[in-house]
Symmetry: C2
Subunit: 137 residues, 2 copies
Amino acid sequence: MHLEEVLAENELRVTRPRRLVWDILRSSNDHLTAQAIADAVHTQDASINVSSVYRALTLFSELGIARESKFGEDGSRWEPAHSDEMIHLVCEKCGTVDHHGGQVVTRLRDHLASDHGFVSSNVNVVVNGTCSNCSAQ
Amino acid sequence: MHLEEVLAENELRVTRPRRLVWDILRSSNDHLTAQAIADAVHTQDASINVSSVYRALTLFSELGIARESKFGEDGSRWEPAHSDEMIHLVCEKCGTVDHHGGQVVTRLRDHLASDHGFVSSNVNVVVNGTCSNCSAQ
DNA sequence: GTATATGCAAACAATTTGCACAATC
DNA sequence: GATTGTGCAAATTGTTTGCATATAC
């Protein structure tokens, strides 16, 4: 997916802050906080402000190309919007956040729609627990 | 479940703030924000401070009798910890938050444990979308 | 009576906003 | 060149904390 296109389609401009935020979002497979993104942006261009990072993230979310999840400490986490929704597995021991897409979410959506008439636009699953690594010890 | 017992078991004291916060949590079937709880507490005893509300909620969560969920605006939401975990259905049109317990969560936990070795302690599912009422219009 | 909890006010942290200037199209 | 986006600094909002006092046991 090209940022340029999405922005152009909506008559929005391609700016350096937006470019950098997007590249960082895409290249990381973690769920980054706005602050972490801002820090990463900063290593490439120290003149870019946190508020621009927030504005970019909010915009991307409205455009449907990024998603916000709330879990853990330190505020919201951000990730590029994948076509299949993600389950976040947060290990309480080592702190690792793993993701895990798949049919579980799809089945949940189907179930809610058919049996409860609830049409879901956005599913957010956060599971706290102990990952297999830490269980083994 | 009696607050008294749980507190006594842990050699903690039954105080007016804790009593009121607990009663409000139990009597509401909404997911209340700390502020909403503080407001409700205030109608009964205006001398009770927000910080005591936060302290009570944090304590209840540590004791396993309350649960924190992060969704929507205005910070975390709180509810009494039910034996079966809840799915939160947040309607984007009317703002209603419905809950919906059941096997979906249980099945998810089983799946994660058996197929991925992830032992879940706490599952939090937030689904945004349109409720049946609003879809009908 | 003693330890634990509280109220208060101040500190913190995440996020938002108004505005003059800068950069994109 | 017009308009949209940015940096900055200040405002907001949710939450936490240190400390002297009050309260439950």
